[in-house]
């Protein structure tokens, strides 16, 4: 059968896998968010000990391949008795990885909020906690959106690595279909096109949000 017919037939199965991909991405980015903010705070406001700890975390995670981290979680942890399902290992691994990168984006955004803002906050009597919460954080969240959009798209792409630890996302579906039909190349062309469409739509969407939320003049 022709390529188009093949593509049409396998689309439903692939879309199932795509949903898993999207789930994976969303869970991972949320995990990354809740790791990233504290770590960024630790690097900007923490004492010596916390700073070193957070920096250590960021440097190691960013300095080693995601695939290795996934292997450690999925193949490595059983050695000490912890067995994770592929999906779990995937979102934990990708989530922690994203956390390290997000920490750096947040740190950059925090540091680009001008010092004078903090000083003004203190001068009207706020303590550090309040200043961070009401002045720094809101600005930081808006400044970080461009980097954060990048991160989301990177995650969509890197979620494909979950295939390597047997998570049932789109790549696994693809492989299964391929082993049935022996038309591996064409199946992956369809997968590539799905990613293309996914990433393009996501980018346009994020672009629009970015433009709406931009702080005027900054």
């Amino acid at each position: 059968m022709s390529f188009l017919t093949l593509a049409w037939e396998i689309l439903p199965k692939l879309l199932q896998g795509t949903i898993v991909t999207i789930e994976l991405t969303l869970i991972a980015i949320l995990i990354g968010f809740f790791i990233g903010i504290p770590v960024a705070m630790g690097r900007v406001y923490g004492n010596k000990f916390i700073y070193v700890l957070c920096t250590f975390f960021v440097e190691i995670i960013r300095g080693t391949p995601l695939l290795t981290q996934l292997f450690i979680l999925y193949f490595g942890l059983p050695s000490v008795g912890i067995m994770l399902s592929p999906f779990t290992a995937a979102y934990i691994g990708i989530g922690i990885n994203s956390g390290a990168y997000q920490a750096e984006y947040f740190r950059g955004a925090i540091q680009s909020v001008k010092r004078e803002q903090l000083i003004a906050a203190y001068s009207i009597g706020m303590n550090q906690m309040q200043a961070i919460r009401h002045i720094i954080l809101p600005q930081m969240l808006r400044l970080v959106i461009p980097s954060w959009s990048n991160e989301l798209i990177y995650l969509v792409k890197y979620s494909s690595m979950a295939y390597m630890i047997q998570a049932p996302e789109i790549m696994s579906q693809g492989r299964a279909i391929a082993s049935r039909t022996y038309r591996t190349f064409e199946v992956f062309i369809v997968i590539a096109l799905i990613y293309l469409v996914l990433v393009s739509i996501l980018s346009k969407f994020l672009d629009r949000i970015e433009r709406k939320v931009r702080i005027p003049g900054l």
Binding site: I60, R62, G63, T64, P65, L66, L67, T68, Q69, F71, I72, F75, G76, L77, P78, S79, V80, P146, S149, N150, I153, Y154, K157, Y158, S159, S160, M161, Y163, M164, M171, A178, T184, F185, E186, F188, I189, I191, A192, Y195, L196, V199, S200, S203, K204, L206, D207, E210
Partner: protein, 234 residues
């Protein structure tokens, strides 16, 4: 400890895997560099036609599709098109072209931040396009590119681990073999692999930093670009 002994015995394999990883990275970056430079020059100086029909679709495709998918496309595509290439070659093509798509952005940014006055001055003394690019634009653009290129180096080195998926015997795959052969402590062995990657990234970064210092243009700074759309940034 028994386990550490295992690692010690596995070291030769790991080192040969490391060597393959390094070679892969060099090939990826080299292909990415040469093609990326051409693409960047095409984006800045080329005709509209070339840009819209060739360069932009290329960049779009190789940046939106995940590296793993690209690897499979080239690996299985070679048999589909009845071209006989090794897994290694397929990996080099896939990851090299992908790196080209990212490096072209780096170089394009650098060239555009140089400012058109430089090109005008070069042309005004009678240099043709090729000479202007070679003697005036590129020397400056390459220097300005070093900081973002350092990031690309790290990404490519880490992503080389994906070559595992098409059977290339790089560092991670060697690690897998050791675990499979010896029923050894997977956690330990993969952690060792991770540390080796870390050292490779670290050493490379240091080297690039030294390069940056050595070729610094006295008194010059790169301007930042704020108005990119998301798709242009990834």
């Amino acid at each position: 400890m028994d386990q550490l002994n295992l690692v010690w015995q596995g070291l030769p394999s790991l080192l040969s895997g490391t060597l393959v990883t390094i070679i892969l990275t060099i090939y990826f970056l080299a292909l990415g560099f040469l093609l990326g430079l051409l693409l960047a020059l095409g984006r800045v100086y080329g005709s509209r036609f070339l840009q819209l029909l060739v360069i932009r679709p290329f960049e779009r495709f190789f940046r939106a599709v995940p590296a793993l998918v690209l690897l499979f496309l080239f690996y299985f595509g070679s048999s589909f098109f009845r071209v006989d290439i090794s897994a290694f070659m397929a990996a080099v093509l896939a990851m090299g072209l992908r790196s080209a798509a990212y490096q072209s952005e780096i170089f394009r940014g650098a060239i555009q931040s140089i400012g058109e006055g430089q090109m005008r001055a070069a042309r005004s003394i009678g240099m043709n396009m090729l000479q202007s690019i070679r003697y005036v634009i590129l020397p400056q653009a390459l220097r300005l590119s070093i900081p973002p290129w350092t990031n690309e180096y790290a990404v490519v080195l880490k992503d080389s681990s994906l070559a595992y998926a098409v059977g290339v015997t790089e560092l991670l795959r060697q690690g897998r073999y050791i675990v499979a052969r010896t029923f050894g402590n997977a956690l330990l062995i993969y952690t060792v692999c991770a540390l080796i990657y870390f050292m490779l990234v670290f050493v490379g970064n240091q080297f690039l930093r030294i390069l940056e210092e050595k070729y610094k243009i006295p008194g010059y700074e790169i301007k930042t670009r704020k108005d990119q759309t998301v798709l242009e940034r990834i």
